[in-house]
């Protein structure tokens, strides 16, 4: 059996031979073609050297408007897609380790020298190496569309969520509303995936997801109304600034609990993981997805996880507010880590609910409680507490 280290060694060997072959065969051919066609050699030369020298690559990127301060960098790397994907993959690792500790196991241990720290990368390679099986009866276009839509939606959730007063991708007056508007599309992705799979279990899972997401979207939106009443703004920046003195989790405790429960449901996590209930409907709407299709869907779910945990931090835990000896982003990430922990934890201690119980909690309890919460917010606002 091949260990992870041997696997990495094999990859490195392939890369090594690639680097040997590149200058001997490909570069001469390339320069020959470029010289014969009369293209500006200097640009080609720069691009090729940048592939090897990172410093030159940065300079090159900056010249074409792709530097650290460019919009492209913000969207693609930090605080955009790559950063979110990194947090998402390490959330998976953290979840596995945390569950393992609760369940008296060790969890991922062998990939990487320390506590299986490289397990997400090993998993990524594993998924990349797997065959993409598309069922014969599947609706091919939608089957392929679902993973891409899933990750696209999850990434676009992050577009207006700021990480600190200076670190953000885009600013908007309505940066609180936009993520929820985008979130409204997520049942659609699930339904597309479920329908396109042409599988009975996937179909049942998709319908369950639809019921569940529809039932919990409304209390989720209603629960944040209290904060909007207190701050009078839909701008996340202003909402976080309003929490300089007191975090909203104290005056809006009920809202925080409702929002937390709806996050669990939105992310299809135990006790609300009915759309993927393994022992009932195999893997729900994910049943037919394999390899990197599954990887992208999973990454989409965990990026949504990151976005919603971030929203919880910004709305209720004061975002990046904290004593000045640490930069704001560190405070934010610290609180985010805490929120991720409490979102993961129910999986260790709770079983799964049933559909009718879930719907009853959503429509009967959470919506009623969120209306009560709006009254609380109005009273607090008229008393001038905030």
């Amino acid at each position: 059996m091949e260990t992870f280290e041997e696997f990495v060694k094999r990859i490195l060997t392939i890369l090594f031979w690639l680097i040997i072959v590149l200058p001997i065969i490909i570069f001469p051919i390339l320069f020959l073609v470029v010289g014969l066609l009369g293209i500006d050699v200097i640009i080609v030369n720069e691009i090729l050297t940048a592939a090897i020298d990172p410093l030159k690559a940065i300079k090159l990127a900056e010249r074409y408007g792709l530097g650290f301060s460019s919009t492209f960098f913000k969207i693609a790397v930090f605080p955009g897609f790559t950063f979110a994907a990194l947090i998402a993959t390490f959330t998976i690792l953290y979840e596995r380790k945390l569950l393992a500790k609760v369940q008296l196991r060790v969890g991922p241990l062998y990939a990487g020298r320390f506590e299986g720290i490289l397990q997400p990368i090993a998993d990524l390679f594993k998924l990349l190496g797997k065959e993409l099986v598309v069922p014969e009866k599947a609706d091919k276009m939608f089957f392929w569309a679902a993973p891409i839509l899933s990750i696209g939606l999850a990434a676009s959730l992050l577009s207006v969520i700021p990480l600190s007063p200076t670190i953000y991708i885009a600013r908007s007056e309505f940066s609180l509303l936009i993520p929820f508007a985008i979130l409204g599309f997520s049942p659609l992705v699930v339904l597309i995936a479920a329908w396109a799979s042409s599988n009975k279990f996937a179909f049942i899972g998709g319908l369950r997801a639809l019921h569940q997401l529809a039932a919990y979207e409304i209390p989720m939106l209603l629960s944040i109304l209290g904060i909007v009443i207190l701050t009078g703004s839909f701008d996340l920046m202003k909402i976080v600034e309003a929490q300089k003195d007191i975090w909203f989790i104290f005056p809006q405790f009920l809202a925080a609990i409702i929002f937390y429960i709806t996050i669990l449901s939105e992310l299809e996590r135990i006790p609300f993981d009915l759309p993927e209930a393994e022992t009932e409907i195999v893997s729900g709407w994910l049943t037919e997805y394999t390899g990197m299709h599954f990887g992208l869907l999973q990454l989409g779910v965990y990026m949504k996880f990151y976005a919603l945990a971030l929203l919880f931090t910004l709305l209720f835990l004061g975002g990046w507010n904290g004593p000045a000896f640490l930069p704001p982003i560190v405070w934010l990430l610290g609180k985010l880590f805490f929120v991720i922990t409490i979102i993961i934890f129910p999986r260790a201690v709770l079983p799964r609910l049933r559909m009718d119980q879930l719907i009853r909690i959503g429509w009967a309890w959470l919506i009623a409680l969120s209306f009560i919460n709006i009254f609380i917010a109005v009273i607090e606002s008229s008393l001038g507490i905030i």
Binding site: L104, S198, K200, E278, T279, E280, L350, P351
Partner: protein, 373 residues
Amino acid sequence: MQNAGMNIEDKGGDKLVLHVGPQHPGSGHFRLIITVDGDYIVGAKPDPGYVHRGAEKMAEYRDYIQNIPHLERPVIIDATGVTLPYVLAAEKIIDVEAPERAQYIRMIMAELNRVISHLYWLGIYGIFLGHSTMFMWPMGDRELFIDLAESIGGTRVTFSYVVPGGVRNDMPTHFKERALKTFDYFEKRIEEYKKIFFNNPIMTARTESIGIMSQADAIKLGITGSNLRAAGIDSDTRKDEPYCLYDRVDFEIPTRKEGDSYARCIVRLEELQQSMNIIKQVLDLIEPGPIKQVIGGVMRGEPGEAFVRTEAARGTMFYHIVSNGEKYPYRVKISVPSFRNLIGMTHLLVGSKLADMPAIYWSLDYWPVEADR
């Protein structure tokens, strides 16, 4: 299959037909063909037989001692429970009797196996309800009991320990101390199980008044074991027709009146405690002595028949051996509790919700391999 996937026209009209198993994370080695109307199950048709290996027929071509290893294969997690009645019946045919110490050791092994089997059941029940911690904890604690059984029987799971005339070998000398230590630890763990699982509001909401089996139904369908006791009937072969030396120990038969999935869970949890209670008493009663009555030559039965009924982990295990004086038995009939549970399961599933399928299915502790034999 022509109409795989979403085509449902020839699968029950406006109803959806689901094939749960044999390759489904929520089924064992059998298939359950479920017809769903909305969220409700309107028809459940079991399709067992995927792991039928003809244990009864195989028993006709092996002599009395060779039969033991393959007869415990159907229920390897309850290996002693399934071979003990065979050995008792074979002893009647061969006309030997095990010494007192061997009888006590058999009781210890049978009860240890009951604990091992119930803990396995508990772990799977946890994961069937989506509780992954309740899967890992009993599976981990089960290893302690497996270690105890291994120190007596020599292997982890398939002991083939009970033989006609006694048991294969004696207990290790420090078994009592080890066992009591394990039981002390496990008593504490049961409290933790209760905190995290049995008293969990979601768990009770999922299992209470789900899959209710009334007393009349339980009797009519021939249900035995914990499922019968959960329906309110205190029937236990260990008390009703004591075999080995069960009449010398004092234990209770846990019963519940409700007959629902939760009652079946609680009954099994209390049986764990009763099993440990029995082993503790046996460890006090047991005295040094021979462990085996040596039988010279090949075991050869007298012509005749023997019936033995014992209480295995899943219910009443019944053996009927017919001998015509050869060295092989003429006929070995095994009547297993799981097959009756399967009938009961079909009865309970119709009318329940699809999401309750795992909660009902595994609460009956149906073991497909045992039912198929």
